[in-house]
């Protein structure tokens, strides 16, 4: 199957986008259908980037002839996987614990880490899975024995679900009922999403100002992790908004990524002027963010 590796959003979205490719549908619906939402996670003192969809994923899928069945957990995952046996119109996305997966050398028998994987091409004994390789590229792993997948999934249950670390759905079954592909205009879709979620854009700007104030006031928070998350989000934004073909937006987002890396480097150095440099650089990034939002709204209003 064709595999999407151009950018990384998170493991769930990666699995969803590749599921769409598996069914010959348009993966970009997920890319264009959300914008990042910045939130402060008090427990971990870090700013997270969530994906704010303009409509529920299940609704988007139904519009494209795919039906999603969610299951919290199962004590017999093999029974669930068997529902997809010998059926090209069905696949699953499940959570696993990488501690048990030999193809994940960084985690196998070293550390626990939860991840969503896509499972398809199921037969009586084995299945094909889609997961990252050691270079963080997604690839297919063929003829994985079902017993192994069961071990990976049960590992997730024992280490995450039953310990209370996660309590959300761990199994998603996808059934393609219609093969037709809905046509849509990407620029119009992005414009609709921007106008519908304009409040999120404003809220994000406030969050960035909040981060700046925390730095100025020497308030403690996970600053490196926060900037890593912002950087990852900016890479996705660059990819998403490239469809708009606007030079100002493209150049500003690229510049923001460069600034964030300059800030990350400055934070690791022992320098007397560290704080001043970080404040100045981040202030520049916030100014660019305002200009990006203004331009996005201008384009969105013009296209509707």
């Amino acid at each position: 199957m064709q595999i999407f590796n151009e950018i990384y959003i998170n493991c769930k979205y990666q699995a969803l986008m590749n599921m769409m490719l598996l069914f010959n549908k348009d993966k970009n619906l997920f890319l264009y259908g959300f914008i990042p939402k910045y939130e402060f996670e008090e427990n971990y003192k870090v700013y997270q980037v969530k994906n704010q969809m303009y409509k529920p994923i299940a609704d988007l899928l139904i519009e494209n002839g795919i039906y999603e069945e969610k299951i919290l957990f199962s004590d017999n995952i093999l029974e669930i996987i068997d529902k997809c046996r010998d059926n090209k119109e069905k696949c699953l996305i499940i959570r696993i614990d990488l501690y048990y997966t030999p193809h994940n050398l960084n985690y196998y028998k070293k550390k626990h880490y939860k991840r969503f994987i896509l499972i398809h091409n199921v037969n009586k004994k084995n299945a094909t899975i889609l997961d990252k390789d050691q270079y963080n590229n997604y690839k297919e792993y063929y003829q994985i024995p079902l017993g192994k997948i069961e071990k990976w999934y049960n590992g997730y249950l024992n280490n995450y679900y039953f310990t209370g670390i996660r309590n959300d759905e761990s199994i998603f079954i996808y059934n393609m009922e219609k093969t037709n592909i809905n046509e849509y205009n990407p620029k119009e879709l992005i414009s609709k999403v921007i106008l519908q979620l304009k409040d999120v854009l404003d809220s994000n700007l406030n969050i960035l100002e909040q981060i700046l104030n925390k730095i100025k006031n020497n308030e403690e928070f996970e600053i490196m992790k926060t900037f890593e998350k912002l950087l990852a989000s900016k890479k996705v934004e660059e990819y998403r908004y490239s469809i708009l073909e606007d030079n100002i937006i493209n150049e500003h987002i690229k510049r923001q990524q460069q600034i964030i890396n300059e800030i990350r480097l400055e934070l690791l150095r022992n320098s007397n002027q560290k704080k001043t440099k970080v404040i100045n650089k981040f202030s520049e990034s916030i100014k660019l963010e305002k200009e990006i939002i203004d331009k996005l709204l201008y384009i969105a209003n013009k296209s509707i």
């Binding site: 890396n261 480097l265 150095r269």
Partner: protein
């Protein structure tokens, strides 16, 4: 210098195959990305007691060992 750079890359990318790569191989194809490139830069700065300028840390400058060598030699 090439072997020193490879040792640093090995520790950051946790990849034993680094010793086999050439000076022109694209490091972004073997696990380097915009997140861990900063670890590479700071490790090089500490190793050679140099400080890179902002324009030096653009991602394209860290694409392969040859380019990294060029950056280091500019600063030494």
């Amino acid at each position: 210098m090439v072997e020193e750079i490879k040792e640093i890359l090995k520790s950051i990318l946790d990849n034993e195959n680094i010793s086999q790569i050439t000076e022109e191989d694209n490091l972004y194809n073997i696990g380097l990305d915009s997140l861990n490139v900063i670890k590479l830069i700071i490790s090089i700065e500490k190793k050679y007691n140099i400080t890179f300028d902002d324009e030096d840390i653009e991602l394209k400058n860290w694409k392969n060992i040859n380019r990294i060598k060029g950056l280091i030699n500019k600063k030494i």
